[in-house]
């Protein structure tokens, strides 16, 4: 199975919550074999659907590697596509007749340099927003309503960021779309953005962000240079990894990566899944795996208690899934791909308890041990950054209106610190209002809008689960006199 493409089809045909609308059938070439795909799938999704698990290999010892994040953040799925090496197959749409092949860790640069356009395309715009998730789209809608020329740049094929894989009903206030499934919310936001006159550029990857409010972008048209009067950086988050023996085997995937594969492309990751981590992501993805007909053999959690909401854990327990707190993974089993895992108990000082090792049979191990903010281009732009544990990583110092220390460059959503989608959307709105003030001029309506959004964010951060963001945001917000 490690080489070649076995004749399988891992696509989900019936699902309790999602109707998968697949595009036209098409065929592409994978290492000399004809592979079936559907329009709208990425190369990685189509290959996984056909049973491929080894996407690349390590530089040393040529160990097999699978995909990990499935959203273009980790480079674990790079292949040669139509002669170009290092293409992230998880964010590259599959096309009829495409030639795809795997390459080693360090492929040769093609002798004949392929360039899509010899000269960069210059764009002078009012505002560029990086990321078409809840934060980016919410910001864009506000700006467009006030007549600002706003461009949203996203490397994905679809809009909505990670909302597109959130098939569960949203928590949060019913005034802020709670009870709506994220996937429906993505469509609503996108439709509203279109109606408001927002320009959306998908399949466009930001390559750099500069202090003079300039962005460089790679799109199908080639290199684009955006000169702007304001930037809102809302690129989301990156999944954390975990150290254990054999952790690079195909079959070990980010929980979010599995969610993308399963809920966005309608492809099951395997038959039996071990979930590592019991925050809301781990608990929710476990539930969604069961909905897709996949067995979740166990959820393990190193802490003495599970991390997510009780209601999510209770839902899983009712489905018969064991949750083992005070447990961690020792090693993954298998050579070409995961065939099982060894887990063991931890004592009060996080040391393995001898004699508690047990072997579990599974073909997928999901890593759900948190996320960290995706914001490295803000550092490039010169924004002052600070490590804030409560926000899960380095975050930019910002004003109460979400402006970084670089004038005119704003941040919103998970790039500003890991929280959830409702807060991301509200932060996007706040940055949007603030940029309208800057570009169009202030008004009572705008300052009222800002106050309302701030009150909404404050509401969402109440309660014990809001303790971390409450504390974290204080540590990096300028007007609150801590930094």
């Amino acid at each position: 199975m490690a080489h070649g493409v076995p004749m399988t089809d891992n696509r989900i045909r019936k699902h309790p919550v999602i109707d998968f609308e697949r595009g036209e059938e098409l065929y592409f070439d994978f290492e000399g074999k004809k592979v079936k795909a559907y329009e709208g799938e990425t190369i990685a999704a189509a290959l996984y659907a056909n049973g491929l698990v080894k996407f690349t290999e390590s530089k040393h010892r040529a160990r097999p590697r699978g995909f990990f994040c499935a959203i273009g953040k980790c480079s674990s799925c790079i292949m040669k596509v139509d002669g170009i090496p290092h293409v992230r197959t998880c964010v590259t749409p599959v096309e009829e007749g495409m030639k795809v092949e795997r390459h080693g860790a360090l492929p040769e640069f093609p002798k004949e340099v392929v360039s899509r356009s010899p000269d960069p395309i210059h764009r002078d715009v009012d505002v560029a927003i990086v990321g078409a998730g809840p934060a980016g789209l919410s910001a864009a809608i506000v700006l467009a309503r006030y007549g600002v020329d706003v461009h949203v740049i996203d490397e994905g094929e679809r809009q909505g960021g990670q909302l597109v894989k959130q098939t569960h009903q949203f928590f949060g206030s019913h005034l802020e779309e709670a009870g709506t499934r994220g996937v429906d919310l993505a469509v609503e936001l996108f439709e509203e953005a279109k109606r408001s006159g927002v320009n959306i550029h998908n399949n466009s990857t930001v390559l750099g962000c500069y202090p003079d409010k300039r962005l460089t972008v790679e799109s199908k048209e080639g290199l684009e240079i955006y000169d702007t009067k304001g930037i809102i950086y809302a690129a989301g988050a990156i999944e954390n990894f975990l150290a254990f023996e054999n952790n690079d085997l195909p079959g070990i995937y980010g929980a979010g990566g599995v969610q993308t594969l399963m809920n966005e492309y309608g492809i099951v990751p395997g038959e039996k899944v071990l979930m590592i981590g019991s925050g809301n992501v781990g608990l929710i993805v476990s539930y969604q795996l069961i909905q897709a007909g996949v067995e979740v053999v166990e959820v393990i959690e190193a802490m003495p208690h599970f991390g997510g909401y009780q209601v999510h854990a209770s839902k899983l327990r009712r489905a018969g899934v064991p949750i083992s707190t005070g447990h961690t993974i020792k090693e993954a089993l298998g050579t070409e791909k995961v065939t099982g895992a060894v887990v063991h108990k931890l004592d009060d000082s996080w040391q393995p308890v001898p004699g508690t090792e047990r072997e579990l049979e599974c073909d997928v191990i999901c890593i759900a041990v948190g996320l960290h903010p995706d914001n490295q281009f803000l550092r490039q732009a010169g924004a002052e950054m600070k490590y804030v544990r409560e926000l899960s990583g380095f975050v930019p110092i910002r004003s109460e209106d979400m402006e970084t220390t670089v004038e005119g460059v704003y941040v919103a959503g998970d790039s500003a610190g890991i929280e959830e989608a409702t807060v991301a959307a509200l932060e996007g709105k706040l940055a949007g209002f603030a940029l309208v003030e800057k570009l169009v001029g202030g008004s009572k309506e705008l300052s009222d809008g800002k106050e309302e959004v701030k009150a909404g964010i404050e509401q969402m951060r109440k309660g014990p689960y809001g303790e971390y963001p409450r504390k974290g945001v204080k540590m990096c917000t300028l007007d609150e006199e801590v930094c």
Binding site: K14, H15, P16, V17, H168, Q169, F170, F171, G172, S173, H174, A178, G179, R181, I290, Q291, G293, P304, H305, F306, Y309, Q310, V311, H312, A313, S314, K315, L316, R317, R318, A319, G320, V321, I323, T325, T422, Q459, M460, R461, K462, G463, P464, Y465, G466
Partner: protein, 156 residues
Amino acid sequence: MGEYKETGVLTLEDIVKPSADRVEKGPVVVIECIEKIPCDPCVAACFKEAISMDEITDIPNVDFEGCIGCGVCVTECPGLAIFIIDCTSDPCTVTVPYEYLPVPEKGDIVYALDREGKIVQESEVVRIRSSGKTYGVTISVDKKNIWDVRGVEVKA
């Protein structure tokens, strides 16, 4: 921190229950949501205004006298944490939220599950209602089991 934080399984001591008198009177809601999380669609769902919160992170406060046990909230709760018990019929019924395949049909005999997914008894599906893709499945349950049955499994 309660033991539920290790197990994911609530005990009857963790839950705010309607009184025995109220249970005898007619169908009534049981909300098994005990943490202060930022979530309030149940408040908006109840047209009898029997569920209230001062702040979005409050635990839902139920006015059991005002609740008519209609079950609208069952399919609106994103946490699938709301149930209806009804002891005005014999056997009693329990309504649980359901989002799997296959969806059971009225008259089907299904397994009634407890909070750990263990089979408590076999039950007949007496009513199905849906809101979007979430179903509220009402099953017959022996009176002695109404505080244990919280899930449904369709027989293979």
